[in-house]
């Protein structure tokens, strides 16, 4: 009797679920397919350790961009640009040292290497921008911007993988 009762409950529950669970349409499947798989514990630990480094790098990168922008728009002279760029290279170098101390899981080795490459590009960009202070040639800014944009693209790629945030309409 008890067994039959339990079997009946299982049957009812199954039928109920089949009735109430929505069937995803093709569009929904496409959306779900684009959701990245969750990070493993080791990957999450790496992402958490990288976050404070990344926060500083992001701020420094944006400061570099806006220093160039202000200079180009005539809001800063070469002296002003020098002040705004001061210390950025050291901050990117410090980030590189901190990055080396992280132990990425095997699945994150490639991303880790790419991050190191982004930092190298940012450092080169700062060096290139500083040359403007010496000779005033805008070509340095263009070279620096190309490197900085490559680095920003790498950071975007990494961010998307490590902190897959929201892409709601902004």
């Amino acid at each position: 009797m008890v067994v039959l009762g339990l079997a009946g409950i299982v049957l009812l529950a199954t039928l109920h679920e089949q009735r109430t669970l929505p069937t995803p349409d093709a569009g929904a499947s496409d959306v779900l397919a684009s959701v990245p798989p969750p990070l493993t514990a080791a990957e999450e630990a790496y992402a958490a350790a990288l976050w404070p480094i990344h926060s500083d790098v992001k701020v420094s990168a944006v400061q570099m961009t806006f220093a160039g922008l202000s200079y180009k728009l005539g809001e800063l002279d070469r002296g002003g640009l020098h002040v705004r760029l001061h210390g950025l290279n050291e901050r990117f170098a410090a980030a590189t040292v901190q990055l080396r101390q992280l132990q990425p899981p095997a699945s994150m080795q490639t991303l880790h290497g790419e991050y190191r490459e982004a930092l190298r590009l940012y450092q080169e960009a700062v060096v290139e921008m500083v040359r403007v202070i010496d000779d005033g040639r805008d070509a340095h800014l263009l070279d620096a911007q190309a490197q900085s944009e490559k680095a920003a693209a790498i950071l975007m790629k990494l961010s998307d993988a490590l902190w897959p945030g929201e892409y709601k309409p902004n």
Binding site: K58, F66, G68, A152, S159, G165, N170
Partner: protein, 339 residues
């Protein structure tokens, strides 16, 4: 005496008109009040991509979903939001209002579908990337200021106030304030939300190449094309674009006009770095300039490309299921809508 004075006044009046006519004929000039020479533009709307299943209440708070409600204001759970780009053609200009965003191998933007490259969409309108002369971005968010490098000849127009707002937010020392979309936990409505550094780098690239105009307030960028500031209507330096057309003035609003229903029914939408009073004042500007809400062009209106948003109803499907609409044609401009 009085009668003579009256005759004399009329006589001088007729003589003045005659003199004005003679001067006009002599100079060959047409008085500005006699004929409006402002060019009329052709306008299309192109869907860069579509955000799928966005909770309606997150987009328009007054339309929040209430389970089991039969109230039409509250019985819709989620909506699909287009990312609309304006294409404006007239005289020597092809102008884009916003440029959508660029999908890349590593950047799929979860929850987004129907993305198509803007150059491919423009080709269907007979426009090549090098034909684009001007780009006006309604604001600098990633989904409105992408693909800039695909239009190397285009002059970018961005508000000074927008750049200042971005710099302040992105360099803010507290991570909560400077959080962007890919920060852990997302960014909700923080001051930096929507501004990944990559987008800013691309705007900077335009400035470095001498292909940007930093706008400070209102500016006529061509006859019949006027930028209006709408500070804080969505972001610090939001800007609208007024376009003279055969169906009257159109006003593009980017995310200051995220929802056309919002403009019609007076509801705030897509609140980001937004002062809601300023958003309502931007709506008011559209009523004032265009004479109502019909000609307000919205960036994310879910009813876009349908009869329910009449301005955009003359629509068809383009690359990868993206949609396009012909809003109005200038005299002599052939239709681009497939037969």
């Amino acid at each position: 005496m009085h009668q003579w004075q009256g005759v004399s006044t009329r006589w001088w009046g007729w003589m003045s008109l005659l003199g004005l006519g003679l001067i006009t004929m002599t100079l060959g000039a047409v008085p500005s009040w006699a004929a409006d020479e402002t060019p009329q533009y052709s306008v299309w709307l192109v869907e860069s991509s579509r955000f799928m299943r966005v909770p309606f209440g997150a987009f328009v708070p007054d339309r929040v979903f209430i389970p089991n409600s039969t109230d039409p204001q509250h019985n819709i759970n989620t909506v699909d939001l287009p990312v609309n780009v304006g294409v404006i053609k007239g005289g020597k200009d092809v102008v884009l209002y916003d440029t959508g965003w660029k999908q890349q191998e590593y950047l799929k933007m979860t929850g987004s579908e129907h993305w198509a490259p803007l150059p491919e969409q423009l080709a269907l309108l007979g426009i090549k990337p090098e034909d684009v002369t001007k780009i006006v971005i309604g604001h600098g968010h990633w989904d409105h200021a992408g693909q800039l490098e695909d239009f190397p000849n285009a002059m970018l127009y961005v508000q000074k106030e927008e750049l200042q707002g971005i710099e302040w937010a992105l360099t803010y020392p507290h991570p909560k304030i400077s959080a962007v979309n890919t920060s852990p936990g997302g960014c909700n409505r923080t001051p930096a939300c929507g501004y990944p550094p990559l987008t800013i780098d691309q705007i900077y690239g335009k400035v470095l190449r001498g292909k940007a105009v930093i706008v400070d307030g209102m500016m006529e960028i061509a006859p019949g094309l006027i930028i209006h500031p709408a500070y804080r209507a969505h972001t610090a330096g939001s800007q609208l674009l007024q376009v003279n057309t055969a169906r009257g003035q159109l006003l593009f609003g980017s995310d200051a006009f995220s929802s056309w229903e919002g403009i019609r029914d007076w509801m705030v939408a897509n609140v980001q770095q937004t002062d809601t009073v300023q958003q309502f004042l931007a709506y008011e500007k559209c009523y004032r300039i265009t004479g109502g809400y019909d000609n307000c062009v919205s960036a994310h209106e879910p009813l876009s490309y349908s009869d329910k948003y009449p301005l955009t109803k003359n629509a068809w499907t383009g690359p990868n299921g993206s949609r396009m609409a012909e809003l109005v044609l200038a005299p002599g401009e052939p239709s681009r809508k497939p037969k």
